[in-house]
């Protein structure tokens, strides 16, 4: 499935914890796609996503000695990413950017099916608290439990929010969702 990562090799992890940059680069390469996607969908801005991804990995590197395996590594990395993204949102007050379609479409690949853009816009239009669990669960393949850890909210909240997110999307996408379903 899309976005589901195996836990990192314990040896790589332990070398990275001791400051081995080669080992850390292995982790960056394994996780950067998901970190970037999470950043993008939380902020809706490609440039911010690039910045946040970098900042998040810098923080991961700094705090790695403190990661002690209480959670999955990906969960821990996503929590840090989310913090960087929220910091960035707070700092640059770019919430309005979320609704800024022009930016969202800027780098959309031309080959992509038109429905893709529509869905992307619909996701971007969700309120942050619904978008967060949706992105974590559907795009990054996190379980409800791990998503709850990343978000620091109860599992029940995550469950009802991802459900509400999908309901809202179903409403917005109505026709195209059905169409897609019928094809399938």
């Amino acid at each position: 499935m899309e976005g589901v990562l195996d836990e990192p090799d314990p040896q790589i992890l332990s070398r990275a914890r001791r400051g081995d940059t080669g080992a850390f680069e292995v982790l960056v390469r394994a996780y950067q796609a998901d970190v970037w996607r999470l950043s993008l969908h939380l902020t809706g801005d490609y440039n911010l996503a690039d910045d946040i991804t970098q900042d998040a990995f810098i923080r991961v590197f700094r705090f790695l000695p403190r990661y002690r395996g209480d959670s999955k590594f990906s969960t821990w990395v996503f929590a840090i990413t989310r913090n960087c993204a929220l910091d960035e949102l707070r700092r640059s007050k770019r919430r309005q950017v979320l609704a800024d379609r022009a930016k969202m479409e800027r780098r959309v690949e031309e080959v992509e099916h038109a429905t893709g853009v529509e869905v992307r816009d619909a996701i971007a239009a969700l309120p942050l608290e619904l978008r967060e669990p949706l992105v974590l669960i559907d795009m990054l393949g996190e379980s409800y439990r791990d998503a709850a850890k990343v978000l620091g909210s109860p599992e029940g909240t995550v469950k009802s929010r991802v459900h509400r997110a999908r309901q809202q999307l179903a409403e917005v996408l109505g026709a195209s969702a059905k169409e897609n379903h019928d094809e399938a």
């Binding site: 899309e2 976005g3 914890r17 940059t21 680069e25 960056v28 950067q32 970037w36 996607r37 993008l40 690039d50 991804t53 970098q54 810098i58 700094r62 705090f63 790695l64 000695p65 403190r66 990661y67 002690r68 209480d70 959670s71 969960t75 821990w76 929590a79 840090i80 989310r82 913090n83 929220l86 910091d87 949102l89 707070r90 007050k93 919430r95 690949e109 992509e112 429905t115 869905v119 992307r120 942050l128 608290e129 559907d138 795009m139 379980s143 409800y144 850890k149 990343v150 620091g152 469950k159 991802v162 459900h163 999908r166 999307l169 179903a170 996408l173 969702a177 059905k178 897609n180 379903h181």
Partner: protein, 627 residues
């Protein structure tokens, strides 16, 4: 087959069913319902379709950022945390995430076109304090009325800050003084977590200038002091961080008004109005050393705060206009025209640099040395709160007195946990608020922030153990942190007898004013004040006294709040050698000791006194007349 469960019971579970997140029992129930309910099946199908669409979305043109990340790490700008920090137990930190999660709900408030409410600004400044990393700014200072011979002084101040505790402040005096005898008001302050250094002109009372200063070079009249082994977030060598972000100045939404928006140095700003007594940490931030003019507690202050970064862009103190203020100025021999601008501070530039040159915060070691007595060690036994508001473990060690301490920080925010015996005496907690901690954690004693110390909670544990929490987080957070300590607190001895035979006892709130038949309750309290502590005392010859402290919730920069003392039987006001002013309070004549800010009067055989901070007679009379 008829569904045994209703649609509404099942629908909320449909997403979880699709995701395989339901227990097998629950899944079976939902599946059974679906088998017999076409409309729920349609809903499920639509949710599945959406889920698939979202998952297909996951294909993106993802940039490879690894080279940039690795370059930043290789450039040495990033270092992994010290290994000693790693040894600190992060209280099981629910998935390490809790320690890093920043107030998910505190996104920028929507202020399109609206004037932000004071509480929004308080909230935003707090949020900004949490994320601040580095800051540099230059301010221009124009001060009037410092000395009769020097009507105007002009200075510049450069400030650099790196969270949580590195700071450098340079004040350079550009004033043209009447002669070279006058010492320039040049001040330098450099501090890091362990060391603190200041260079300033020797203190000469303005009235004694210029004779008091040595005329040749300033070498002999410049003082240098250094604190080594400084305790983290030490109040006696504190850092003037309110000029970076006015966290304490704006700690309580009740202490300032939002006047409107303005454009200051090309930036959108909120204009806030507050009396000097609430703005002390901000105004005094650039006055960490040297000689400066005084302000009356009620002198109006206007502050322009950047609407985006929440950094202060400018502030201005003007002379108040009350008769009370005129008396005060006369006493200090100040010749201020009411309404005149006394101080104006304007930022000429500010930035949040990434990676300042590391020698900016190098602390010089010349100077009169004081040992802060702090020994850094990981071998401390400090009770650990399970909730630390997302702050990260920082430094810990032992004080000269043998108290153990642990600190936590994030951005500008800090929490200090100190544990030891005989940290505080019972009488010192009289003016503190007794708080019932949530979760049956007993009681704790709360004190608002002062000019140099953070908000504080004391827990009395065991026979003479004390756990003290110091922080610049809001009161509500502090209480939550205190309640998450492994040990609960107990009440200070309920009743104690002083050497002189006076029995003192804490009185429950509310209803404290009903303690004695003679005690009266004021109908008026200034905004932000509440009765937070009350004590009753009885002397051996039967004089009973009720003392009630009215205090603010977050911060008080002017003493112990408002104190109301009522005593009976008393037949005359205690003799006093002080100068006082006679004041009419309803049908009684009282006396006002301006120096102490106390209004006293006799009401039959009852003595009443209202002590107001910040020598404000108007407030005292208003409270007195409402009793």
């Amino acid at each position: 087959m008829r569904p045994e469960t209703t649609c509404s019971e099942v629908r909320g579970d449909l997403s979880a069913l699709i995701d395989g997140e339901l227990s097998s029992e629950r899944a079976a129930i939902v599946e059974a319902h679906l088998a017999g309910c076409a409309s729920c099946r349609a809903e499920e199908a639509s949710l599945r379709a959406v889920r698939r669409l979202v998952r297909v979305q996951a294909v993106e043109d993802i940039p490879d950022l690894a080279p940039k990340i690795m370059a930043r790490i290789a450039a040495g700008r990033v270092q992994a945390l010290d290994p000693w920090r790693e040894r600190f137990r992060i209280a099981a930190v629910s998935a390490a995430a809790a320690a890093l999660i920043v107030l998910g709900a505190s996104l920028p408030f929507d202020r399109t076109g609206d004037i932000a409410a004071a509480s929004d600004i308080t909230h935003e400044v707090r949020a900004a304090a949490r994320v601040i990393d580095q800051y540099r700014a230059t301010f221009q200072i124009v001060e009037r009325g410092w000395h009769p011979d020097v009507p105007v002084r002009r200075m510049t101040a450069d400030i650099s800050f790196r969270s949580p505790e590195d700071l450098r402040l340079e004040v350079r005096d550009r004033t043209e003084y009447p002669s070279e005898q006058w010492p320039p008001n040049d001040v330098s302050l450099v501090a890091t977590s362990a060391k603190w250094w200041i260079e300033e002109p020797s203190s000469c009372p303005p009235a004694a200038l210029p004779q008091c200063a040595s005329p040749v070079t300033w070498a002999g009249v410049t003082e240098r002091r250094v604190v080594v082994d400084r305790q983290p977030f030490d109040g006696s060598s504190s850092l003037p961080t309110d000029i970076v972000l006015p966290l304490e100045t704006l700690a309580s939404a009740e202490s300032f008004d939002v006047e409107g928006t303005a454009t200051i140095t090309g930036r959108r700003a909120y204009e806030l109005h507050l009396p000097y007594r609430h703005a002390v940490p901000l105004v005094k931030a650039l006055q960490a050393g040297g000689a400066w003019r005084e302000f009356h507690p009620l002198d109006p202050v206007a502050l322009w705060i950047d609407a985006e970064t929440w950094f202060p862009l400018a502030f201005e103190v003007t002379a108040g206009t009350s008769p009370d203020r005129a008396l005060w100025a006369e006493r200090l021999e100040l010749d201020d025209r009411p309404g005149a601008t006394l101080l104006r501070v304007t930022a000429t530039r500010f930035s949040e640099p990434v990676g300042a040159p590391s020698d900016i915060f190098r602390v010089p070691s010349r100077g009169l040395e004081r040992d802060g007595g702090f020994t850094e060690t990981i071998d401390v036994d400090v009770p650990e709160p399970t909730y630390v508001a997302g702050l990260r473990p920082y430094r810990y060690g032992q004080t000269a007195e043998g108290h153990q301490l642990a600190t936590y920080t994030e951005g500008m925010n800090y929490l200090k946990v100190v544990s030891g015996t005989r940290l505080v005496s019972a009488s010192a907690l009289q003016a503190a608020e007794e708080i019932e901690l949530p979760g049956d954690k007993g009681v704790a004693y709360y004190l608002p922030a002062t000019e140099t110390l953070g908000r504080r909670i004391d827990l009395i544990v065991g026979r003479d153990g004390v756990i003290q929490l110091h922080t610049n987080l809001p009161r509500a957070e502090l209480i939550r942190i205190a309640a998450s300590l492994p040990t609960g607190g107990r009440a200070v001895m309920d009743r104690f007898v002083k050497g002189s035979g006076v029995t003192i006892q804490r009185v429950d709130l509310p209803g404290a004013f009903d303690t004695f038949r003679f005690s009266a309750e004021p109908g008026y309290m200034p905004s932000g004040y509440e009765a937070r502590s009350a004590m009753r005392a009885v002397t051996i010859d039967g004089v009973r006294t009720l003392t009630v402290y009215l205090r603010q919730a977050e911060a008080e920069f002017d003493g112990l709040g408002i104190r109301i003392v009522q005593s009976a039987p008393v037949d005359f006001l205690p003799p006093s050698s002080e100068e006082f002013v006679e004041v009419r309070i309803g049908e009684h004549v009282g006396r006002w000791a301006a120096e102490r800010g106390e209004l006293e009067w006799l009401d039959g055989h009852t003595y009443r006194a209202v002590s107001v901070p910040s020598v404000d007679l108007y407030t005292a009379v208003r409270i007195a007349e409402s009793m």
